[in-house]
């Protein structure tokens, strides 16, 4: 056990924890924040995507010791009241089906928009490599495009 200190959604956290515990399981089991999802455990599917120091990162392969002192933002902290432009459009355009992968997709998409407010389709495709088994890809792309349009005006 090691004491690890980091910030999650702006709140200081101090945990006595096995330092090899992936950030994913730290968030889910130790902090009770289950919005970040377990999909594969090997950074292939992206369901566990969070922001670490402002960068979209797959948290299932990041040991918690690696985020000592870092700022972590999860889906629960993407906006104050679920009103990030992507969250609003995800609902309006009925993007999710089962929805399980979508918190990861949203975190990846929010990171993309922050760096590139008007991404081309190829840039969206390159950046969002999450797996959605329900096949909502075309709506994800459409929602990101709409967000880019809305951000322009």
């Amino acid at each position: 056990m090691t004491t690890i200190k980091f910030k999650v959604n702006g709140q200081e956290q101090s945990l006595d924890i096995d330092p090899s515990t992936p950030l994913l399981w730290t968030l889910r089991d130790h902090l009770g924040m289950t919005g970040t999802k377990f999909g594969c455990g090997i950074a292939q599917c992206g369901a566990c995507t969070v922001h670490i120091n402002g960068h979209a990162t797959r948290s299932c392969v990041i040991p918690v010791q690696a985020v000592e002192g870092a700022e972590v933002v999860t889906i629960e902290g993407l906006s104050d009241s679920g009103d990030h432009i992507l969250q609003k459009l995800w609902v309006e355009l009925n993007v999710p089906q089962c929805g399980y992968c979508q918190s990861g997709v949203l975190m990846a998409a929010a990171d993309l928009l922050k760096r590139n407010p008007n991404p081309k389709d190829e840039e969206i495709d390159a950046q969002i490599s999450n797996i959605c088994r329900c096949g909502t890809y075309s709506r994800i792309r459409a929602a990101i495009r709409r967000a880019a349009e809305d951000l322009k005006s």
């Binding site: 009770g32 919005g35 999710p96 929805g99 399980y100 088994r133 329900c134 096949g135 792309r141």
Partner: protein, 756 residues
Amino acid sequence: MKQASTKPLAVTRRKFLISTAIVAGGLSIQLNLANASALLLKGQVKGRMKGENTANELSPWLTIKPDDTIIVTVPTPEIGNGASTQHAMNIAEELECAWDFVKIEFADYRREYQKPGSYAVGLQPFFGGHSTDHDRMPYTMQLGASARERLKMAAAQRWGVPASEITARESVLTHQASGRTLRFGEVAADAAAVEIPVEPELKPQGDWRLLGKAQPYKLQLPKVVNGSAMYGIDINLPDMVYAALLQSPVHGGLLKSHNPDAVLNMPGVRAVVVIDPAASVGSPVETSPTFGFEGSECRSGVAVIADHYWQAKKALDALPVEWDNGLGAFWSSDKKIHERQDQVLSRWEGVPLTKSGNVDAVKAAKTVEATYRTPFCEHAAMEPLNGTAIYSAEGLELWHSTQDIQQAFWVAVDESGLHPDKVRFNPTLVGGGFGRRVIGDDVRTVVAIARQHPGVPVKVIWSREETTRQGTYRTQIAARYKAGLAKDGMPLSLQGETCYSGMAINIGYTDMVYAVTGAIPNVRLSTSQLPMHIATGAYRGPCYNSHAFTCETFIDECAVAGGIDPLEYRLKLLAGWDPAWSDCLKLAAKKAGWGKPLPKGQGRGVAISNWPQPGKKQAGSTVCTVAHVEVSQAGALTVHRIDFTFDCGRIVNKDAVAAQLEGGIVFGLNMALNEGLTIEGGAIAENNFNRMPMLKMRDLPEINIYFEALSGHDRFSIIGEAPVGPIGPAIGNAIYQATGKRLRTTPFRAQDLSWS
């Protein structure tokens, strides 16, 4: 599309009584089957009559609270298809409530057990779909109508005016003449006391305001996008512990030995328990699982229980385990399996299930014969298998992502041995099902583990690797077809045999449209089995997803051999059939530019199929695809475009139908291009997404879905499964046009497509 029917939906099958009660100061409304006992005797209602101690419990379908909140109780799980939202829309259409006030709660299955008929209405009433089922839909609409009339009468009594002068709209009751209004919530409690002599008629469909018009977002979405939606894996309970599990990698194998002492001292570890299929207790009462218990058995293995999942997983990885692989190890490779399939098929001795004329007597100008194969496929739902249970002296309570609540409940009863009154099952949102979360083997395993660690909640999580290895896969099949063509190229005979290695569903094979229209005078379609140890089960359009590939590829081969354009060939074969099929073909072809020249290395292919009633006119959902592909000389395949048409009769929610079609098309693409498990030493070789490529956003072709082929026939057929069918064969047929290479097996990515 035709005009909407002016008739209301018919409530025909069963008589029922509507009763009401005051709940939380508002109106609660429920259905009571008038003849539940009689239905029970006929086996139409599942469960057992109890009677005692239940009279005061309610099984509400609909509750209107004083603050205007509308709670719609949904007997089906929500797997992402929006069935629960649709169910609420059906009620809201007649209730005339404001949509923003509607909330959804899952029904407690125990009520159905205690009072059969409480929630069992329509086809597979506890299964995650069928919200537009032709029995269930009018039932639920009647609830809305009944509540609305009672609210009107309560307002009429308060105002001292005739109820006929009152209108209900957007959760407000209005007396036009005096301009007075009341909110639903203000009279909800009074409405609970209203007796209405005759239940109101349902609206004519032409008067619908929501159905066929509104396309609201699924009600759970605000919680999905902020991370607060609760899937099975998200359940968090006080004192909860976690279990990681490992089961025999070869299905049917047994745990030979393990050494708990090696891990019991590891941090957080509480216990190591054995999952023993023979230890299942058995139900103390007669059970009624939707699909029976076969296939729900535990798989021999071991689980480590610890304070946190990561601790459990680390200890499991460190646990020495030996397996007795059993007979399954005989199947050393796919090659061996394919050889045995060929041995079976070459005998042509399968059981003939569809037969007309005499295929052996045909004098054909030309014979076409080919063998096709599809592999085992894993559902790969994004939420790995999991479940949480607490087993104690008081009973068993579970939280679980299931596609069928009735099945899950009875599996839990059967594994625990507890009386059903002591078992409580809480459905959660489901992170993808596709057929994997139906039979309840996962439920049984959770109970088997929790039972050995009583008193605290145990959350059992299958790793992705374990989820993949312990699947209930789409069965592999091999199919051989033979057709005798006349001089004009059209088939005189069609002979087929499909050899399954697991759960065999013949929809789309023995009732394939070409076999039933009479256009082919001599038909014999048989089935056979190559039994294997690999667990199989439902998979988005069970087996149909393979049959559509074998059948639509073979018909394409016949067209080519007959020297006839593949689209023209299908239109000729379907000439006397339900015209919606031809309409789908013609529209897809027109939109895709069928017949327009393409550069070398590019091609178009067409396919058509129907789930679940290909052999009946104006039934099921007919789906048609034209695919446009390009194959580089080196063999790299690009699917440029999918043009998709369909007929499911009519639709009540265009966006929901579109979403299912979009998702089904992607599913069909992935199945055809990528999916196929490899058998090595009797076990599944793939275990995670690094070895199991999945379609991603960058792989998406242009997808065009057209609604113009909808016939307007008076049915709202299910639409989730059908679209997976025609995608693969349309692409395969397009690859043939592009390269001259005929693809007779899936997945396509595994094959050499190079050409010169």
